[in-house]
């Protein structure tokens, strides 16, 4: 079996796992889920780093730099805003339930 086939199998399995995982997330947390996945989609930052370091061509470097910049915005902005939201979902203190 070749390498490419393995990658496609991983892709399909991860999709199915994602489906099962996300189905269980309650509607209350759907907005943080979306901003959290925004942050994770910043993973293309890896691709940007690989592009920048693989070439000395200036155009390639500039394109890589822009994509690195954009994906860093995604990573930091996404995780921080998600944290800000989830902080609000803590249980209010000293609330007596009847």
């Amino acid at each position: 079996m070749n390498n490419e086939l393995y990658l496609i199998i991983i892709f399909v399995m991860a999709m199915m796992l994602g489906y099962e995982l996300i189905k269980k997330i309650p509607p209350t947390l759907h907005t943080p889920l979306m901003s959290g996945t925004n942050a994770i989609s910043g993973i293309v930052i890896i691709g940007s780093i690989l592009v920048i370091t693989s070439s000395t061509d200036l155009i390639v470097n500039i394109l890589g730099f822009i994509s690195l910049l954009l994906s860093s915005i995604n990573v930091f902005g996404g995780f921080i805003v998600t944290d800000r939201m989830l902080e609000m979902f803590k249980k209010p203190k000293n609330k007596d339930k009847k």
Binding site: K23, L29, I40, F65, S72, F76, F79, M85, F89
Partner: protein, 461 residues
């Protein structure tokens, strides 16, 4: 050596999976987000260990991460919770653009040759999905931010136009296999994909934006997975697919909650062509009440359900409603909130807005949980919501919202509607609830109305 890195990438994927899994409860969600962040940190560190540096690349990488990080931080700290849909739209767009730039630079790096293998095909797909995600998200953002009209923009023959464009894009992709070393073909390809993204989102009305945002969210994940195919990188493939699946599920939840198909949303034009029979509306009679009337109604009620809609968010009334809620609970009333899946401007938006004002998330019930409660409810208070409580969805086959699941407020003993005026809401539909004999209309800006209601109620007790 290489297998060590694969293990690191694998561990970081596991961290993403755990992080998302912990989002299934509000008590663990925040820790989950931190775990996902650690996964990201591990993936980036691993990559930095693999690659070879020169001075240029060190400068590019460190300055890019630093500047991007600062911009992201400012975005994340400044954004208002009401503007979360816009922020998510922009971030989807950035992800899409980043991926298509990576794909394009891979074309240049490989001396503009495209051959029939998984890498080249992934590059072309990344360019297509990445560019569509970028221009579509920006168009969506402009609509949400009201920088362009939120109403559907309907070009003549638009569906033919999109079809022709899509066929040309596929044609260009096929051509790129035969005409190597032609940069021009890629410029045309990218421009066409960008145009397609704009044309797809333009005809979609503001009320349908949640669906579009969820769908573009999914695209931004799928394109990350294809970027993973370009570099044979499992961290990219796994996390990209997780996001892709997430966006698809959210899209399906939204379309189900509106009883529409995805195709129906994408083909657009909802609410633009419908002519409503509003002439009748003026003849029907309704009761309107003052804050004192509503306050005494609440005084005699035991079980209360509050139905918030986007009007509540527009009026920034989430803190006022918390004040009213506290007083009602203090008086021993049972109060819950009924949250329709399409309340607000993105999935779960209303929950975030109410959480912002410290309302306990356990009081926020979704459609299935709350609908059985209405028959034992003394009073339902509808604040700035219309379509999600419109019985036309059940009764009137000609209504554009026919078949959409709604909150059964009619079953409660009495109904209070907080609304600016008798003008129809966002979808432009009249609502029979307003003319029901159980209903009291309480006109005014949502925030002012709630504040005066709280004041009247305080005077009563």
């Amino acid at each position: 050596m290489e297998s060590t890195y694969i293990i690191f990438y694998f561990i970081s994927s596991i961290l993403f999976i755990l992080g998302i899994k912990m989002l299934s409860s509000p008590t663990t969600a925040r820790r989950g987000n931190l775990i996902s962040f650690m996964g990201m940190l591990l993936a980036v560190t691993t990559t930095l260990l693999i690659v070879d540096y020169n001075l240029d690349s060190i400068v590019f990488i460190s300055s890019g991460i630093f500047v991007g990080g600062v911009v992201g931080l400012i975005f994340a700290k400044k954004v208002q919770m009401t503007s979360m849909p816009q922020m998510v739209a922009i971030f989807n767009g950035l992800g899409g653009l980043a991926s298509s730039l990576i794909a394009f630079s891979e074309i240049i790096r490989s001396d503009r040759t495209i051959s029939l293998n998984i890498i080249s095909i992934s590059i072309l797909i990344s360019i297509l999905i990445g560019s569509v995600t970028f221009s579509g998200s920006i168009t969506g953002f402009l609509k949400l931010q009201s920088l362009i009209t939120g109403k559907p923009i309907l070009l003549p023959l638009r569906n033919y136009l999109n079809f022709i464009l899509l066929v040309s894009i596929i044609g260009l992709m096929v051509a790129s296999f035969f005409y190597n070393e032609q940069t021009l073909i890629f410029y045309i390809l990218i421009s066409s994909c960008l145009l397609l993204g704009i044309l797809i989102v333009l005809p979609i009305g503001g009320a349908d934006m949640p669906v579009v945002i969820a769908l573009l969210n999914s695209y931004s994940g799928i394109v990350a997975a294809f970027t993973g195919f370009i570099f044979s990188n499992i961290a990219l493939i796994i996390s990209g697919s997780l996001i892709g699946a997430s966006g698809l599920i959210l899209t399906r939840i939204m379309t189900k909650a509106m009883n529409r198909s995805l195709a129906n949303v994408i083909l657009g034009g909802f609410g633009a062509t419908k002519e409503n029979i509003n002439d009748e509306a003026s003849d029907k009679s309704y009761k309107s009440g003052s804050s004192d009337d509503v306050a005494s109604l609440l005084e005699y009620s035991e079980n209360i359900i509050i139905v918030p809609g986007y009007g509540l968010a527009v009026a920034q009334a989430q803190h006022s409603i918390k004040e009213l809620l506290d007083i009602l609970i203090e008086q021993g009333k049972n109060v819950v909130f009924a949250i329709h899946p399409v309340a607000g401007r993105m999935p779960g938006h209303m929950n975030v807005l109410l959480a912002e004002s410290n309302i306990d998330y356990e009081l926020l019930l979704d459609l299935d949980q709350v609908n059985e409660k209405f028959s034992q409810t003394d009073v339902s208070i509808i604040i700035g919501a219309n379509d999600v409580v419109n019985p036309a969805a059940k009764l009137d086959e000609n209504s554009p919202i026919y078949g959409m699941p709604i909150l059964d407020v009619e079953k409660s003993k009495s109904i209070v509607v907080l609304k600016r005026s008798m003008n129809p809401g966002f979808a432009g539909l009249d609502n029979n609830i307003f003319y029901n004999e159980k209903t009291v209309m309480f006109f005014g800006d949502a925030k002012n109305s709630i504040d005066s209601l709280t004041k009247s109620f305080k005077e009563l007790i």
